[in-house]
């Protein structure tokens, strides 16, 4: 079993809901990024998602697009993002799952990327524009380096398709809780229960819900069913609206603590 899956299963077996924050590599600055991963570790996160900036991120809404563009303008590259990730994970002990689009990885070379990611302490890879049908040529090289390619299912994914995707899933299954791009306004809990139900019917892999989880209440409701939540755009929003980077990091740290607290006491109210 790969390292990521040992972590995700152990966390679930311990009765703990996972909190996975998403940070764009190098945003709002390299030092601030390292501080953000530290804040995640302090909030009890075992895994963080690190976005490799890309010029044309079609799965992302305006907030993550803007963070990606800002990091690129500041000179971020795939190689630098991996080096930065290596520093962050070495300093904190959290596992990093990197999120990239297909093109930078193909340009780097799938095998070379897998080796470089492994050497940087990366524990998993998410490629949101690589659906299950296109994944095989990438899954092999990544697996050879001990890295799972995280599979995603969406509200539009039918039961038969969920079964096919889940059969190849490792680490955790990523449940996209809304029909849309990251950061859209939605009630993630509305889809989460149904998605988790579909997934549980075919896999015992931990199920994490992302896209559209923006506050403690949403996170709490999502983990009534799911094993963890992934939060991204809400963090970028805090970083964007802060007067300076230090304040932004502080706001994110505080927010992650509030999420952690909410996850420790899952919602028990009557479902509507």
């Amino acid at each position: 079993m790969m390292q990521l899956e040992r972590t995700t299963r152990a966390e679930r077996d311990a009765g703990r809901k996972a909190l996975v924050p998403f940070f764009t590599a190098g945003y709002p600055g390299e030092g601030a990024f390292l501080d953000l991963v530290r804040a995640a570790a302090d909030a009890g996160c075992r895994t963080v998602e690190v976005g490799i900036p890309f010029s044309d991120p079609v799965a992302d809404g305006p907030l993550i697009q803007a963070s990606s563009l800002a990091a690129l303008r500041a000179g971020m590259t795939l190689r630098r993002a991996l080096a930065l990730t290596a520093r962050a994970t070495a300093a904190t002990g959290v596992g990093a799952v990197v999120m990239s689009y297909a093109n930078p990885v193909l340009r780097f070379g799938a095998t070379e990327f897998a080796a470089a990611a492994r050497d940087a302490g990366v524990v998993g890879v998410i490629l949101p524009d690589v659906p299950h049908e296109e994944a095989a040529p990438l899954r092999g090289p990544l697996a050879a380096a001990g890295l799972p390619l995280i599979e995603l299912i969406a509200p539009t994914t039918g039961a038969e398709r969920v079964a096919r995707i889940a059969a190849d899933a490792r680490g955790f299954l990523y449940l996209v809780a809304l029909t849309g791009v990251t950061g859209a306004v939605a009630d993630p809990a509305a889809h989460a229960a149904q998605l988790v139900g579909r997934a549980r019917a075919v896999t015992d892999l931990p199920c994490y819900v992302g896209f559209g989880v923006s506050d403690a209440e949403g996170a709490r409701r999502v983990v009534r069913d799911a094993d963890g939540v992934i939060v991204g755009s809400a963090l970028v929003r805090l970083l964007q609206s802060a007067p300076h980077q230090t304040a932004g990091v502080g706001d994110v740290a505080e927010f992650l603590q509030s999420l952690r607290k909410a996850l420790a006491s899952p919602a028990r109210e009557v479902r509507t």
Partner: protein
Amino acid sequence: MSTSEPAIAGRFGPYGGRYVPETLMPGLIELEAAFAAAWVDPAFRSELDALRRDYGGRPTPLFRARRFGAAHGGGAEVWLKREDLNHTGAHKINNSLGQALLARRMGKRRVVAETGAGQHGVATAAACALLGLECVVHMGEVDMARQAPNVARMRLLGARIAPVGSGTRTLKDATGEAIRDWVANVATTHYILGSTVGPHPYPTIVRELQAVIGVEARAQFLAATGRLPATVVACVGGGSNALGIFSGFIADAGVALVGVEAGGSSAGHSAALGRGTPGVLHGSYSYLLQDGDGQIVAAHSIAAGLDYPGVGPEHGHLKDTGRAVYESVDDREALAAFHALCRLEGIIPALESSHALAWVARRQSQSPALDGPILVNLSGRGDKDLADLVPESGGGGA
């Protein structure tokens, strides 16, 4: 009529595929099945044929450009396939009508589209008005400024324009926004992609809908001259007008196929096939303009419809197999050809199509010139470009 039908999962050789978020995959699979069923349904085909004829103005004429040929043809005959005479001013209506009919057949009441020059946006707005579909066109702010007449046309036709202010603010980012819109609204919405790009099945659907250009042109050319052209030339942005006309001649091994990309200026270019490398953009694997780190590089062309850093996957395959060759002409050459056709033939061509004409003029000024007849796909008319080229025209008559 297929050219190089994808063997597996929409691949043309190594190119193509479906690189989209999982949210869209069921929609693409549904679209693939719906198009396959519609395309063999005689009722669908006859409705499309009737609209092409009575609404779109097909068949478009084949015209021998004698004065342009005498001045710039190097002794060869130059023939024009007059796609500029289509309703809404370009070949784009061939695709938009077909896909709007498909949207209605699939029960989708809302349509989204991307547009660069505005020709695809106008064609889609018209087709949606005709069929009573809601239409949202994503368009970069740079293109809205340089193609103001088409923005006005789309609004008159009832479409809502969604300005795109991110990234390059041109066709690349408009396409990204259209994809995001579709991701969010896939249950109710059909995305009418305007070129032979994007995830499978779009490159195949758009080619099949544009193949009418080549089928007509081949029959017309034979009827007019008793032979086939020696060379068929078309401009290539995403590549739909080129694949449309190439489709008619691809099985004729003796007919040379030439795609002309935008060489741009010192500010940049759009020659994805000529100077790009393979990668993934907007859902498919094909040639594109990228840097060493896999970031997409902004394209440049005087012609907004060619100002795109990618190209359709089937063109990548035609390039690699050598069945078609791809060259480029720059902004200045395209402008010279634009003016030449205006003065010599009384036809105002689109700046995009002017690239194909410019290739003929340059090629035939070299020695030895091609001696067989040359067929140029005159993919659109230039009214939309007048505000840019002739400021005193006050917006090109929009």
